[in-house]
Amino acid sequence: MFGLNKKDSTLLLIVAGLVLLAPFLLNPFPEGSAMAQFNAGYPDLMQRFVIFGIFAIGFNILFGLTGYLSFGHAAFLGVGSYAAMWMFKLFGMNVLPALALSILMSGLFAVVIGYVSLRRSGIYFSILTLAFAMMSYALAYSVLAADMDGPDQQGLLQKGLTGGETGLQLTLDDPRILGQQTAGDGNLPVPSLFGLEMRSASELNVGDWVFTFSAGYYFSAIVMLLSFYLSIRIFRSPFGLVLRSIKSNQQRLSYTGMNPKPYMLAAFVISGMYAGLAGGLMAAMDPLAGPERMFWTASGEVVLMTILGGVGTLIGPVLGAGAIKYMENILSKINSDILHSWFAFLPDGLEDFVVTLIYPFIGKGWHLTLGIIFMLVVIFLPGGLVEGGQRIARAMRRKKQTASDDDTKAKQPAE
């Protein structure tokens, strides 16, 4: 299907199914129950799942295939966001031109940064990209946030190109070429796809369950499926094969007469454009672009996502992105009151003890939990969550199969 082999089409279909049914799958607990705390099926988080999925898929094209660890990918995410915001401010509220400019701008940035950084490999490459990203952050945070249209004027550039720490926002007097300056009710217009507002949502009530279907989520989800499909094609293409050979032995590749540089630059730019697309989508879902998106922790996060899910696998980065965003948004919101209400059935002393035991790992301590899980995955499942899935699948199959069958022939599950 679509030029994919059977295994890959199955994977694509599974991912499509999961993504389209996410509002149901992520809301397994009825509203008002104690477990509703763990529901993740609200638009903002679902959008984050797929948007960071795109970011991680793109990162994996560079890191998973060529083995070049970029530690500054968040710069492209930020560039994409700012580009989309300026498109909203100057051109119109339709998301498609905004996303187009995001991809274009981040691509241009990636060409420049990649051209310089790819002259080195290994740790030097990582440090160079990190340096570029932190430069972009400093520019966005401070240098480009200075008042550029004079202290006595209240013009378009009164907060500079980037808006500094607060971030770039829409205002009521943006000179938009297409579409109105303010919505009918005197408020800011909303990013939309030919009139379909990204923040519009409808709810489905089934018994105690409430499922929210958000236009923004489904739009991002479709973009994510397209990006996923493109990444499968890249993985399976001759171009992908060259990238893999760069990872396995770059010198040998050079000796066979191939120049790896253009391939690496192409991979870097493609993955930068993926990041730009993700950044543009973030701005389309929530029209504000802040400089923290370019900070090195954001770059580190995508590395974590990819490694947690499984480097070089197709689905791994998406899983990793989901896992990290889930913890960031759900675990971090559990506070000690909620814990106490969970363990209220225990005798008082024991309740306090259990709560004290768990407390450091939830709320603002979610980083600690993430760190522990990351360590466990790296030590015991070097292939990430995907390897965990494969091991489980193998174990299941082994049980089913009769002893006469040998395991070595067992097919690897889809990557």
């Binding site: 903002d44 209240q154 720490e165 607060t166 009521l172 408020n187």
Partner: protein, 445 residues
């Protein structure tokens, strides 16, 4: 590569799924409502407390959360009622808001615009919060206020001191009780001129974000109007913890006053560095070198220890105030937590009570009705004397305190002494000077 296999069964299956998908919207109940976002339906109402739990303002955030918990307790009729007893409006009965029990959810802003918006969004979309309040940074306040305007909920700003929150970036759904940089400048400059003379040369170190800029500008304008000269302004990153490299140039300049436009952990570190470099014992231009901290809080004074002695600044509220409202609040906060509240706690507590009172008076949770009730609302008994919530920019106008680090503190909390209570007339300004546009109130879906 692969071939497309169309089987009869496959086509039927796909068709059925697609059909179900297309039919689905007709089953969707109109998300429900009385015409505004998150209208409370049961016998409870959920408020969202979005405060920094990590980052440079985590101390303030923790104190804000304590204040909110206390406010919820008082609104639900628990505790000793705190400021409800001294508040000039008597609409609140201690039975929740409009008879609905108050519940709350919390989030961490991390003092980052993105994170703050994400956590506010999850409180609105997932937990059904009908009002968002809190925050300890102007950048965050401006970002979250814009989000609340879009989402159609009320935003009651916590500690935010930048002019922009109710200036250029004001929004119809956003309200601020805290004072701002302009008021600081207007209140502080005359006191500085009286104490340090009118021919001073000032050097500014400014936190590199929204609040820093407007504070620097306000202090500069109002001191220059009284004859001071500004010889240098340098921006410092918000994440900076060591300010030594910024202090050395001060020694080389011909400045005789250092203005630290820093807050929270930033101010604690920069002031400590400045004192370590001997700035306070320095004599420049034949005068004693002085340090000024425009925005002060007790938590900062505590962090900086003995270094704050004799240093001037301004503050929104201080626990040693002797009016009935302040005494009642300090009493109930102290009973519950064992120490006096900070100004961040005070403004957050007051904002929660003011919101609840406005809902009660409006008779509805609809943001537009609440906004109407808060507009040009005059009240008293909340610790700052008679106060006006001005309708043009949703900013509170009240007296401003000029304080000084105490020379001989009697306890670990008694660190600031009130030098002057600047009357509200002196700090009132015309709403149009900062530009910006409120827009119109947005009740959301």
């Amino acid at each position: 590569m692969s071939k497309t296999n169309l089987t009869r069964r496959g086509v039927l299956k796909t068709g059925a799924v697609a059909g179900a998908g297309l039919a689905l919207p007709t089953y969707l109940s109109a998300a429900g409502h009385e015409g505004f976002t998150n209208a409370p339906t049961g016998d409870t109402v959920t408020l969202g407390f979005n405060v920094p739990q990590t980052g440079p303002y985590a101390d303030e955030g923790a104190d804000e959360l304590r204040a909110y918990e206390l406010a919820v307790e008082h609104l639900n009729g628990g505790g000793d009622g705190g400021m409800l007893n001294t508040f000039s409006s008597k609409a609140l009965q201690g039975n929740g808001i409009l008879g609905k029990k108050v519940e709350y959810v919390t989030g961490d802003t991390q003092t980052k615009s993105d994170a703050a918006r994400a956590s506010a969004k999850s409180m609105i979309e997932k937990d059904g919060a009908v009002m968002i309040t809190g925050g300890s940074s102007s950048g965050v306040a401006v970002a979250v206020q814009a989000l609340c305007q879009e989402a159609g909920v009320i935003f009651m700003a916590g500690l935010t001191h930048s002019n922009d929150t109710t200036g250029k970036d004001k929004k119809a759904n956003g309200f601020r009780h805290f004072f701002n940089s302009y008021m600081t400048g207007a209140a502080l400059a005359p006191v500085l001129a009286n104490n340090y003379g009118t021919d001073r040369k000032a050097y500014h170190l400014t936190a590199d974000y929204n609040w820093g800029y407007t504070t620097e500008e306000a202090v500069r304008t109002s001191t220059e109007a009284l004859g001071w000269e500004t010889v240098g302004t340098v921006l410092t990153p918000l994440t900076q913890t060591d300010f030594s490299s910024y202090i050395t140039p001060v020694l080389q300049s011909d400045a005789d006053v250092l203005v630290l436009n820093h807050y929270g952990g930033n101010m604690v570190n920069s002031l400590t560095n400045a004192v370590q470099f001997g700035l306070r014992d320095r004599v420049a231009n034949g005068k004693n070198f002085e340090i000024v901290v425009p925005l002060y809080s007790r938590l900062m004074a505590k962090g900086a220890g003995a270094n704050v002695k004799g240093i001037f600044g301004s503050t929104n509220w201080h626990w040693s105030l002797q009016d009935e409202g302040s005494k009642a609040f300090v009493q109930s906060f102290g009973t519950k937590y064992g120490f006096p509240p900070s100004q961040a706690a005070h403004t957050c507590y007051v904002q929660a009570i003011l919101y609840a009172d406005a809902v009660e008076r409006a008779g509805s949770f609809n943001p537009c009705a609440v906004g109407e009730a808060l507009k040009d609302f005059e009240f008293d008994g909340m610790g700052n004397g008679p106060t006006l919530y001005r309708g043009e920019d949703h900013q509170c106008f009240k007296d401003v305190l000029v304080v000084k680090g105490k020379e001989n503190p009697t306890s670990e909390f008694d660190l600031l002494e009130i030098v002057e209570i600047t009357p509200v007339e002196q700090v009132t300004y015309d709403a149009s000077i900062f530009g910006g546009d409120l827009g119109s109130c947005n009740p959301g879906a």
